[in-house]
């Protein structure tokens, strides 16, 4: 992670003042779960998220699109080529001049390299491929790049995190920075570090993306949720991943 210029330094100072959780206190949502739910995540033979990873592995080998290419044809062994990839996303895409999410990156590859159509957000195939790629970063620290190009988007994401929204007029920071560890409607408020996405949410009874979870949060505070793929959501993802920098990735996680 490289910081360039005075703007970056100012932003860091600002975030320290704004009540960001100190590095030593950062805890994964895993630690706020019951023993049983943790056990579900720990065992790859019991973790329902692994069903999507399994499917993703099959899709990785499948030739598709007008180009008749499989992911494997360009990327070879995913354990090597995809190692650390999910830990760096959202990442800057020079072609469109802004950061893109891992899902968007997969779709870009499909369109540009496989000459296939984009997969719909939250579709079975896109979730499977994302889960498969994210699985290859398990155990690695989150490491999104913040530099002169991505800094403005980080700032936009941070602004969203701190902005009061919706009928309940709540900002993400109020629950997840100021009140983590306390109870809300029977469950403990986590710190909201997206270390394990895409994850199997017991509430969904399915695997889902970080954007699905963010939209749930927005509905929860009675705000109009941004569309899948919206710049606001990608910027927020970038901020959340940066806020969780250094924490260990554990996709596919299980959460209540």
């Amino acid at each position: 992670m490289r910081f360039v210029g005075a703007v970056a330094a100012l932003a860091i100072a600002a975030s320290a003042v704004a009540g960001e959780i100190p590095r030593a206190d950062r805890r994964s949502g895993y630690e706020f779960m019951s023993r049983e739910t943790r056990a579900m995540q720990d065992d790859d033979t019991a973790n329902p998220g692994m069903l999507w990873v399994l499917e993703g592995g099959t899709l990785w080998e499948k030739k598709t699109g007008a180009a008749g290419r499989a992911c494997a044809d360009c990327h070879g062994d995913p354990r090597a080529s995809m190692k650390g990839v999910a830990a760096r996303y959202p990442a800057f895409d020079a072609a469109i001049g802004r950061p893109i999410s891992l899902e968007q990156r997969i779709n870009r590859c499909r369109i540009d390299r496989q000459q296939a159509s984009a997969l719909a957000y939250e579709s079975r195939e896109l979730l499977a491929l994302t889960a498969f790629v994210a699985r290859q970063s398990r155990g690695l620290p989150i490491d999104v790049t913040i530099d002169a190009r991505t800094h403005p988007f980080l700032d936009a994401g941070r602004a969203t995190f701190h902005r009061r929204q919706g009928q309940l007029n709540l900002a993400c920071a109020q629950c997840h920075d100021d009140n983590w560890g306390r109870q809300l409607a029977g469950n403990v408020i986590p710190q909201a570090h997206p270390t394990g996405y895409p994850l199997y949410r017991l509430e969904w009874q399915s695997l889902g993306s970080l954007q699905r979870r963010l939209r749930n949060c927005l509905v929860g505070i009675r705000a109009e949720p941004y569309d899948y793929g919206a710049n606001e959501l990608v910027d927020l993802e970038l901020y959340l991943l940066w806020r969780a920098r250094g924490m260990t990735m554990d996709a596919p996680a299980v959460r209540p």
Binding site: P48, L184, A185, G186, N187, L202, E203, N216, G220
Partner: protein, 158 residues
């Protein structure tokens, strides 16, 4: 799947209550609920006229779960699992789910050990009952209570 008429009456009354709460344009139908009596009836269907004695079987259930959609449970019976002495079946029931039956496992001496596990759905905080049938025709039971909490930020608008 047969539904006793009593459940339909349940839904009518519950639906009326829900509408009364002024839940706006969304049609809110209260979820179907079985009763402890219906659970006893479901148990009767499996057990027949035999007596069910508490003991021998152990039901492991977390005392509290954050989401009722996937509750892990394990049922264990101390048994040599020989041809002469083994567990024939394990049945699980709930008292407040829309339907009392959860699962029936059929074992036998080939199992080697009478220990089964799965994940179930629970509509609400309630008691869960496990019944095992031994090779000598006797039935044994164990019950456990569990509290089901709910997340604050759900997907649906309600």
């Amino acid at each position: 799947m047969e539904r006793p008429t009593s459940r339909r009456d349940f839904l009518k009354t519950a639906g009326g209550v829900a509408a009364g709460l002024g839940l706006g344009s969304v049609i809110a139908v209260a979820p179907a609920r079985a009763t402890p009596a219906e659970m006893q009836e479901a148990i009767r269907k499996v057990v027949g006229s035999a007596r069910v004695t508490p003991g021998r079987v152990k039901l492991d259930l977390p005392p509290l779960i954050e989401n009722g959609n996937a509750v892990p449970l394990t049922v264990t019976v101390e048994s040599p699992m020989t041809e002469a002495q083994h567990v024939r079946a394990v049945h699980v029931f709930t008292e407040k789910n829309p339907q009392p039956n959860v699962v029936s496992f059929h074992l036998g001496p080939r199992a080697g050990r009478a220990r089964v596990a799965t994940r179930m759905r629970l509509a609400d905080s309630q008691n869960v009952t496990a019944i095992c049938e031994l090779s000598d025709g006797s039935f044994w039971s164990d019950s456990a209570g569990i509290v089901v909490t709910l997340a604050a930020c759900l997907e649906d608008g309600i």
